[in-house]
Symmetry: C2
Subunit: 252 residues, 2 copies
């Protein structure tokens, strides 16, 4: 049976798409080129409106329509399992519209849900830990989109409004933000992300989720002191491999 190709909707931002693509490779058991899984990274950032701006009401066009189009185009060339390399794109007002567009177009693509997968992952890997601290864009913050992990019996912990504003600037600021620096990390950004993790632990978080695919570019350790720090891109890569060819998934 042809298992088809793994598709990544990238470009949100471009580095996050590449990180997901790279995570698929690093989590696959393979001893030569030909043993790696087939994947397509589709990164057309100029045509996808900003997710956070849409959630916040500053952008009129729902990015869902373009994202769904990309998924349908990828399906036409063989993609069967897909993911979006962007946490904010999983806000219900975007993700639900993508799903309904796919449905209207009779798409049979299996689109994973990054945030649901993160909940399942935490539940399985850290069964004793219930309080999950969420770092992400202001879009992710205001929509409380991570509350969906309640399904896995987990509680979410967020930053204060002020700390959230500061974290958002670390991602989006035109001079020192991650998105403006093509993956190069400025000192400001590093400090803000670090302080945000500390704030969440102070608020009781037992696990930290880097709930924006740009954040692992800044903080790449799997632990902060003893607190697990979850890279949602890595979790999604593993879920994609498991969906496509489970026997090729590296042990955790």
């Amino acid at each position: 049976m042809n298992k088809g190709i793994i598709g990544i909707v990238g470009g949100m931002g471009p580095d996050a798409g590449i990180a997901l693509s790279k995570n698929i490779i690093s989590q696959t058991i393979a001893k030569k080129d030909q043993e790696h899984l087939p994947q397509i990274l589709y990164s057309v950032p100029e045509s996808i409106p900003d997710r956070t701006e849409y959630i916040m009401g500053n952008e009129k066009t729902n990015p869902a329509y373009r994202i769904a189009q990309i998924l349908i185009e990828m399906e036409s060339i063989g993609v069967r399992y897909a993911a979006l390399a962007c946490n904010s794109a999983h806000a219900p007002q975007i993700f639900d519209v993508i799903m309904s567009e796919l449905n209207d177009n009779y798409s049979r693509i299996k689109l994973l849900h990054m945030i649901r997968e993160t909940g399942i992952f935490i539940k399985n890997q850290f069964p004793g830990k219930k309080k999950v601290g969420i770092l992400g864009t202001t879009g992710t913050f205001h929509t409380r989109q991570y509350d969906i992990i309640n399904e896995s019996g987990l509680d979410t912990v967020y930053l204060s409004e002020a700390d959230q504003r500061s974290l958002h600037s670390a991602i989006y600021h035109p001079s020192f933000g991650i998105k403006s620096n093509a993956g190069k990390i400025t000192e400001e950004t590093g400090t803000i992300v670090n302080n945000s993790i500390i704030s969440l632990i102070d608020r009781g978080a037992q696990v930290i989720v880097l709930g924006c695919t740009e954040l692992p570019l800044v903080f790449s350790d799997p632990l902060y002191n003893d607190v697990p720090v979850i890279d949602t891109s890595l979790v999604t890569a593993r879920a994609l491999i498991k969906a496509h060819t489970p026997e090729k998934l590296k042990p955790w």
Copy 2:
């Protein structure tokens, strides 16, 4: 005018495809996601026969046919400028067949030639330097495929047969080779690549070309002592940006 999408044939190996994709991002002038260029990375390694094995006569199927198919599929979803993230795929017995397949299918895709672009780049950036040392797979070595840079008035310098065997193992060895370690660099590999650079300089090379897209994963400095070390993936990324939207190319 719609400039179309930049397409990368990746998977040869998978990390090299990602490196080229990442180089396009890092060489583009952009202050937010939406200012980055559209690109598709098409990485289906399981379906592309090994290029070096084909050149050496150990593999019957010419990888050119599958590569051309991928280019044609990418063209069908909007790709107009493309490159192959693999030096060995530019050996004439592969590249010429790709070009003739594209032609037979009335393709209008503009496929850049990584090695020609490298010659042009060296000529423009280092006008005083004529002797170019070539590091690459044994496929690249035996076909002398870099001799095409003679077009730019450059002379090539290669390793001895024995040193070449050693370098090839650094790329392909099933336990310590780059391709088996998903971009993680082993000590053996680092030492071999370093020694190979020294050997070429001893043989008179004034510039070193990392003529296999896996090598910059091991050696990422732009200089070895005072000798420029050229990452062909970076050169190709810049050529793609220049072809697509020249005003977005970062200064060198």
